[in-house]
Structure formats: structure tokens, C-alpha cells
Symmetry: C2
Subunit: 210 residues, 2 copies
């Protein structure tokens, strides 16, 4: 019953992954060396290689880590009271803004683009395990609203394009221009988010009966 049996190993891995994620976000994939990760995590390089077979797998673990929590949150919102579909949709989009702009997983997008050229597997699992489910959840919310007569029957692909587009780009811009001192003035998250949500709700609004 030693603590080093089934719990401790994954805890250490988790710790390493969290530290590595921070470094990857700060410096990019290529510019983050295994040595730097090891040092930051208080190990030597060789020990790090004991936990992860290679840099690709370490990065993949960083991307995967956090999915569960983010998706869980969205599912919670989606499974809420169906009587006020617009309010539910607002809550979901606000949650997406928070996730994609602030969380480590959300900010990973440009990194994944960087890495996916060398390791297409990473992009594939990011798409299948994270993007896909997110889209599914939102689609179901729209279906529900349409069925109950609260939403117009919008084109799903276009709507998702309009939902995620501005959020992801805002995140990318903020990564890109992170060194700007007037970042918040250039990209005021709350203001842009509110305008964005208003537009989406207008697009979902059922046109008056003719």
C-alpha cells in the first residue's frame, strides 16, 4: 500500500505537465528545451525522459491535460434548464471566452499549429477530443432551442464559425502582441465579448412570423 503505487506517479507527471505547459506557452514548442523543462520541474533531463518517451509525447500530454475540466464545464452549462435557451447560450459563450482567452489549453492553439506540421497526431487528437466535442455540445444547444421554438434554424457550420472565430483570433492576437503595453486597450476582452454575444443572439433570434 505504498503511496508510490498508482497515485504518486501520475501526480508527478501532472506536475511536470503543468510546468511544461507554462514554458511551452511562454517560449513556443521549438524554443522550449527538454533541459529547460527538467530544470524548471526540479529534475534532470534523464529523469524527465523516464516520465515521457520524448518531447512530442510531453507536448501531447500538455495539450490533452485540461480537456476534461474545460469540456465538463461546458457540458454542465449545456445540461442546465432548457426553458431559457438564449440565456444558456450566452453562458456557454462567456465560458468559451474565459477558457480560450485565459486557460492554458485555450491559449495553446498557435502552438498546436506550430507542432502539427511535424506531428500531425497532436493536431488530430486535439481536433477529435476537444474541438469536436465542443462543437457537438453547442450544436445540441442549438437543436434544443430550435425544437422549443426559441431559436431560428441557423446553419450550424456557419454559426460555429461565427462563435469560435472571434474568440480564437482574440486569443491569438493577445499572444501575438503580448509584449504591447497597451494590450488591454487594443483588445478589450469584455467589450468585444459583449458585442460578439449580442450579434450571435441576434443571428439566433427567430424572425417575426410573417
Amino acid at each position: 500500500m505504498a503511496e508510490t503505487k498508482k497515485t504518486a506517479p501520475s501526480a508527478r507527471r501532472r506536475e511536470i505537465v503543468e510546468i511544461a505547459t507554462g514554458l511551452f506557452l511562454e517560449n513556443g514548442f521549438a524554443a522550449t528545451s527538454m533541459a529547460a523543462v527538467a530544470e524548471a520541474a526540479g529534475l534532470t533531463k534523464a529523469s524527465l525522459y523516464h516520465h515521457f518517451p520524448g518531447k512530442e509525447e510531453l507536448f501531447a500530454a500538455c495539450v490533452t491535460h485540461g480537456y476534461a475540466a474545460e469540456l465538463e464545464r461546458l457540458r454542465d452549462i449545456a445540461s442546465g434548464d432548457a426553458s431559457d435557451a438564449p440565456e444558456k447560450m450566452r453562458a456557454a459563450i462567456n465560458a468559451l471566452y474565459e477558457t480560450i482567452i485565459s486557460s492554458q489549453v485555450g491559449r495553446m492553439s498557435p502552438l498546436i499549429a506550430e507542432v502539427s506540421r511535424s506531428f500531425p497526431t497532436v493536431a488530430r487528437s486535439f481536433h477529435d477530443d476537444y474541438i469536436g466535442p465542443q462543437h457537438e455540445i453547442l450544436c445540441k444547444m442549438i437543436d434544443e432551442g430550435v425544437a422549443s421554438g426559441q431559436f431560428a434554424d441557423v446553419d450550424r457550420k456557419v454559426f460555429l464559425h461565427l462563435v469560435f472565430g472571434p474568440i480564437v483570433t482574440l486569443s491569438l492576437s493577445r499572444e501575438m502582441f503580448a509584449t504591447f503595453q497597451d494590450l488591454e486597450e487594443h483588445f478589450p476582452v469584455a467589450h468585444l465579448r459583449d458585442g460578439h454575444v449580442d450579434m450571435l443572439m441576434q443571428a439566433l433570434a427567430k424572425p417575426l412570423a410573417v
Copy 2:
């Protein structure tokens, strides 16, 4: 009057820049070595260093190269007939789709995010010399439409967020998932673009007088 006087040097540079841009887009910044660029351009590394003092400057030249043409195109559209503001706006957004999705400059965004962490100067000039002017041109088009009573007086920052957001994200997604065989099915540019434009025109539409 030798041909190698004032025209040839810049022509050679231009050629190198175009080849380097392709490599950067294909492999990313860090994964593209100066040796690879030199080989692709038919030079040795040392000769490449004769043309560009370093990798940063080479990349900056790649980013800058192409601005002029893209901005010129947008300015052409913006300076056209003011009597049909909506049609002009449609044309401008269609042009942006083409530029950002297809052109080399447009597809550079995730790369710039990668590089900007190490070289903030690159991001700064990208913002000031490309993004800034683009926004200015679009804002003037809105001003014009508002002044002539064809557009509602929308929040400019929000509107730009809604214009560029979906386009840039679509470009990023297509870079990210470039290895997918069903890419066009997942991200059908023309379809998404048309739905996007419709939404934007609706947002700009002047509400009926009360």
C-alpha cells in the same frame, strides 16, 4: 550599365524571400534552418548571410514582403464608388478572405505569434504596418456608409473583431489541420464566407426608423 547594379540585388533578395516564405509556412520558424533556405535558394549559408544579417531579419523581410500588394488591393476597393456602400463592404471582405486564407502573408499569422515571443519587433511592425492600415481602411468604409445613411453606426472595434475573427481562425484551422484529408469538407471556405458576410451585412443594416 551592368544589370547587376541596382535591380539585380533586390531581385535576388526578393527571390530568396519568396523561397524562404514558402519554407517558413511549411515548417514553421524554428524548424526552418538557414541552411535549408540557402539550399532551396541555390546558395550556401554564408552567401545567404551576406544578404541578410540574421534569421530574424530574413523572417521580417518575409513578413513585410507582400504587404504593399495586399493593402493596395484593399485601398482600390475602398476608393471605389461610394453610392453602394454594402456592395463595397462585401467586396472588401471577400478580398480579405482571399488574402488571409490563400496568400502567403495572410497565412503567416500563427508563425508571427511563434516568433513574436523572441522578436517583439516583428510583431510590432506587423501590427503597425499591416493590421493597423487594414483596420483604418475598413473604418473609413464604415464612416462613409454611416455618413450617407446606408450603415448603422456600429461599434468599430466590435465590428472589426467580428470581421477578422472568423477569417483568421479559419486560416489558422486550415494550417493546423492541413494534414486532414477531408479539410475542405471540415472547413468549406466559400460556404463559411458567405454566411459570415450575410451576418456582417445584417449587423451593418440600418434599423428601420421608429
